[in-house]
Amino acid sequence: MNSFDFDDDRNAANGRAPEWEVARRTLAQAAPPDQVEQALLRAFAIRHAPRPWYRRWDIDAVASWAGIGALGCVLAIVGMSLLPGEPRSPHVVRVLAAADVGFVSIVSPERMAAAVNPQLKQADLPRSALVQMGIPIVADAPNELVHAELMVAATGEPLAIRLAVN
């Protein structure tokens, strides 16, 4: 055994002076004078004293917060510009559909306006189906598929259609 290995064996047989026991008992309750605690609490109170609002702002704090705000604005603008242009809400869809002259309305404007949560879908439709919808299209090849974008109500009812331009 290494002669130094008495980390967990603190007794007189390993060289501990018995006087330590006495010192430990005597010093168990030793504490600095009360003035030390009072001085520390005073210092704490001074350090954490509430300050009037106009003293809470220093030029560095204002500058740093202004910088953070400016950076936030820039990030917000960049983020918004990167958002996809696809319509996200019924209102936006309706506005865009009305504004887009490429769409042909299949239903009346009242039904279009009353449609709940319309969605834009893409489909390949036979010319014959398009003719039945009243789309002015040549039906000489009734089974030929035509790529179209459809505005569809939540019920599945087609509201408007736009034919793909080849």
Binding site: S3, F4, D7, R10, G15, R16, A17, P18, E19, W20, V22, A23, R24, T26, L27, A28, Q29, A30, A31, P32, P33, V36, E37, A39, L40, L41, A43, F44, A45, R47, H48
Partner: protein, 194 residues
């Protein structure tokens, strides 16, 4: 001493909780004070050291990092540095006891500031320990007090004193031998009186 509670108290202190600061102080004051007291031999120095330790904690000037160790050991390390710094400024340190030193020489090398401590440690055996410790070199005193009085492990002492564990072991071994030698005259006297 639960380090998690210390960290909780520190968080509360940074949010301005004076009670948390008081609780933290009361948790550690006795250990730090007795360490500084036995190390310096002077109650006024020990009180100053404890106050400085907590002032530093309050102003965060010592930069305690919970990821690097326990708060208690960190505070002991700060206290040790302050005691040593105080001693350097006041040139209070005494030379390690020489082999032929007797009772008289021991009494001569003991710091006069230790007299109030003598009153505190009125037990005869504790008084002997105080005088013998005062005769040791500070680097032995550090390790001895932390190991014997505060029951710190080698690892903790190494952290507190910024030493290698091997150095802690060797200093403890030599410190114990030096202390036993310094205590011999007192023990001999006690036997004679008995």
């Amino acid at each position: 001493m639960n380090d998690f509670e210390d960290i909780q108290l520190l968080r509360a202190i940074r949010q301005g909780d004076a009670t948390a600061f008081q609780n933290l102080y009361r948790r550690h004051r006795s250990g730090l004070y007795s360490f500084a007291l036995l190390h310096s031999g002077a109650p006024d120095v020990a009180a100053d050291v404890v106050q400085e330790v907590f002032m530093g904690l309050l102003s965060d000037s010592y930069g305690f990092d919970p990821l690097k160790g326990m708060l208690a050991n960190f505070l002991y390390g700060v206290a040790r540095n302050l005691v040593l710094s105080h001693a350097r400024q006041n040139r209070r340190w005494v030379q390690p006891i020489q082999e032929d030193d007797g009772d008289d020489s021991l009494d001569q090398v003991v710091d006069t500031a230790a007299e109030p401590l003598a009153r505190l440690l009125d037990d005869e055996a504790a008084g002997h320990l105080r005088r013998a410790l005062a005769a040791l070199a500070p680097h032995y005193r550090d390790v001895l007090i932390l190991f014997e009085l505060h029951e710190k492990s080698y690892q903790e002492i190494a952290q507190i004193c910024q030493l290698e564990i091997g150095t802690v072991r060797s200093r403890l071994s030599r410190g114990r031998a030096a202390l036993a030698k310094a205590l011999e005259p007192y023990r001999a006297n006690a036997k004679d009186i008995a």
